[in-house]
């Protein structure tokens, strides 16, 4: 095992009444550290299910998942929460900022659940706001920001706990193409700094920022190809 993410023979089965729905059917992926990988596929092909598993929001029905060498496929709820707070950075399509918190407070949320001290977390959040180019917006609320700015806050928040992997679900889905490419450029920069990024997308242009593209169909890996060459 060499990858930072190692999933092998992962099945995810949902019980719908009398029927079993297999969202994932024996998926195996290995992601080396620092790789930028895109997951594509038609609607219902299992992309979200896979991303939720990778993000430790869910557990596979069978198969194993090693994250940074640690088997996380059978952990309890509190342990999974801990993994999420310490090893995973989420970026969502609809930003998912907490409305009543300011920019800097939103960035601080993961640190708060990790038990950082007030001063350290404020310092780190302020620094991250600067990294994503929002140092003059730290005390604004999400509603006072444009979509692109909100997504930048979300990226800063995903970076806060210095995660092993960053998971992005259609990160540009709600943005116009110009703002979207800004966000993609930011992700490119992060990868250049050594971040491992896994993104789910419909959009070929988004996928083409990744070095490696996996296409899911019916819960199985149907195709795997190289994207942009590093």
């Amino acid at each position: 095992m060499t990858g930072i993410v190692e999933i092998s023979q992962v099945w995810k089965t949902y019980r719908m009444g009398a029927e079993d729905v297999h969202a994932l059917r024996g998926v195996s992926v290995s992601v080396p550290e620092g790789q930028y990988i895109a997951i594509m596929g038609a609607s219902g092909s299992g992309k979200s299910t896979l991303l939720n598993l990778l993000g430790c929001l869910d557990r596979p029905t069978s198969g194993t998942y090693h994250l940074g060498g640690e088997d996380v496929s059978r952990l309890g709820d509190d342990q999974l929460s801990f993994i999420r707070s310490s090893k995973i950075g989420f970026i969502f399509q609809s930003y998912n900022l907490i409305q009543q918190l300011t920019v800097v407070e939103n960035i601080e949320v993961p640190l708060y659940y990790q038990g950082w001290s007030e001063r350290d977390s404020l310092e780190r959040a302020t620094a991250l706001a600067e990294v994503v180019g929002l140092s003059n917006r730290v005390n604004h609320r999400p509603t006072e920001l444009s979509g692109g700015q909100q997504q930048r806050v979300a990226i800063a928040r995903a970076l806060a706990n210095d995660p092993l992997i960053m998971l992005a679900d259609e990160p540009t889905g709600n943005l116009d193409s110009h703002t979207g490419s800004d966000i993609l450029r930011l992700l490119d920069q992060l990868q250049a700094q050594g971040k491992t990024i896994i993104t789910v997308t419909h959009d070929e242009r988004v996928a083409n920022h990744a070095e490696r593209i996996i296409r899911l169909a019916d819960g199985e890996i149907a195709e795997e190809r190289a994207g942009r060459q590093p």
């Binding site: 929001l57 509190d78 929460s81 989420f90 998912n96 900022l97 009543q100 659940y113 977390s121 928040r157």
Partner: protein, 425 residues
């Protein structure tokens, strides 16, 4: 670190309540009423306890009072001019009580005769009371200046008297009454002492009669017997009435409160054996106060029920609003969970909010309750006392209820599937 988390949770709670100010205020109305009722209940309870203690102090918790009354059948037979109504307590009764009842240590007999007393041109209609030297001890009274009647006064039938404060004030408004003479029926009695007034039983309040303390003049019982005889002549509706009463009142004192009941029964027995007319009544302060306490306790139970119902309603209101808040903030819960919040973090977030909400209601309730308790004490006959721990207790009750009723919504929030929660809306 812990304090930072607490502070954050607290601030987040305040923020989210502030976001829905009106809703928060409406939600806590039940809690306000409940806490208010608790404060009033405690205040009335404390007031009643205080009043009972004051009353006991005045009447004596270990005393049994036997009073002479005119028997009902005599009312018709004494209409004739020459009829003498003979009733009431006798010296024999007094002797029997002291001799035969083992618990009775002392008894204070009093003859009470309405007289017009005077100092020069100043006169006053009051009671002349022939009594014994140990009255102050038994009745828990103090002499303010001078002394009370002595056994020497008794033995030599001295013309001395002790005044209650109001009498002294009326007869001698401009000078010290001590050593002065009071005129009763043409005889003069030297003032040897003035009683200390009884502390007013309640805190001064508007409209209360401030002059309802004891009044009258004390003379040696022996002197009264010698000077005024045993027969009392009163004029009423055009005809003279003659009453022959040896003693108007006997106060029997026992050493301990536990003996009051038994001794009272024994006194009753003795009295009934030698009085075939019902010419006496017994007053047992302890029983009176117990009865009064019982009545107050009924009020308190009622208030307690109101408090309990209001608190329950308040708790349900908080639970209701917290459930709404949890549903409204499903997405936020999903976000927090995705970012690493454990179930207990979510629970403490919503419990903090519930506690804040109920604490807010509780604080308003405490303020309103104290004001209402004061108003009750001011405008009604009930004494109310807000003891220092009652606001603290009521406030804690409100917070506890908020926590108790917040548990279910908080648990619902924590048990949400993070994935579902993130998909919400």
């Amino acid at each position: 670190m812990i304090s930072f988390q607490l502070k954050r949770t607290f601030l987040a709670g305040v923020k989210s309540l502030w976001l829905h100010k009106l809703r928060s205020v409406l939600t806590v109305l039940g809690m306000v009423c409940g806490v208010c009722a608790v404060i009033i209940m405690l205040a009335v309870g404390e007031g009643a306890k205080f009043e009972a203690q004051e009353q006991l102090k005045q009447l004596g918790s270990t005393n049994i009072i036997v009073k002479a009354v005119k028997p009902p059948e005599d009312k018709t037979s004494t209409t004739g001019i020459t009829n003498v109504a003979q009733f009431g307590l006798t010296y024999d009764d007094l002797e029997r009580m002291v001799e035969t009842l083992p618990n009775v240590q002392v008894a204070v007999p009093t003859r009470k005769i309405p007289k017009t007393v005077g100092n020069g041109a100043r006169t006053l209609d009051t009671s002349v009371m022939g009594t014994v030297p140990w009255l102050p001890t038994v009745m828990n009274r103090k002499v303010a200046v001078g002394r009370f009647l002595s056994s020497t006064d008794m033995r030599y039938l001295r013309n001395v008297c002790v005044l209650e404060q109001p009498v002294a004030n009326t007869l001698f408004p401009f000078k010290d009454a001590m050593g002065q003479a009071v005129r009763i029926d043409g005889n003069y009695y030297r003032v040897v002492g003035i009683m200390e007034p009884v502390a007013p039983p309640k805190m001064p309040k508007a409209g209360a009669d401030k002059s309802d303390g004891p009044t009258g003049i004390y003379l040696p019982l022996t002197t009264v017997r010698a000077r005024f005889g045993e027969t009392l002549v009163t004029m009423s509706s055009g005809s003279f009435q003659r009453e022959q009463v040896e003693i108007h009142e006997i106060v029997v004192s026992v050493p301990a409160m536990e003996q009051v009941e038994k001794t009272a029964a024994a006194v009753q027995q003795i009295m009934e054996r030698f009085h075939n007319k019902k010419d006496f009544v017994m007053v047992v302060p302890l029983e009176l106060i117990r009865a009064a306490e019982k009545a107050k306790r009924r009020d308190q139970i009622l208030l307690g029920c109101i408090a309990a119902i209001s608190l329950l309603v308040g708790g349900i209101g908080i639970m209701n609003i917290m459930l709404a808040s949890v549903t409204e903030r499903t997405r936020e819960i999903g976000i927090r969970r995705a970012l690493g919040a454990k179930k207990r973090h979510i629970i403490s977030q919503f419990l903090t909010e519930a506690a804040l909400l109920s604490g807010f209601g509780g604080a308003i309730g405490v303020v309103v309750g104290i004001i209402v308790a004061w108003l009750i004490g001011y405008f009604m006959t009930t004494t109310t006392i807000v003891v220092f721990w009652s606001p603290a207790l009521s406030f804690s009750i409100s917070v506890t209820i908020g926590l108790a009723f917040g548990i279910y919504p908080a648990y619902r929030a924590a048990e949400m599937d993070p994935i579902e929660a993130l998909r919400h809306e």
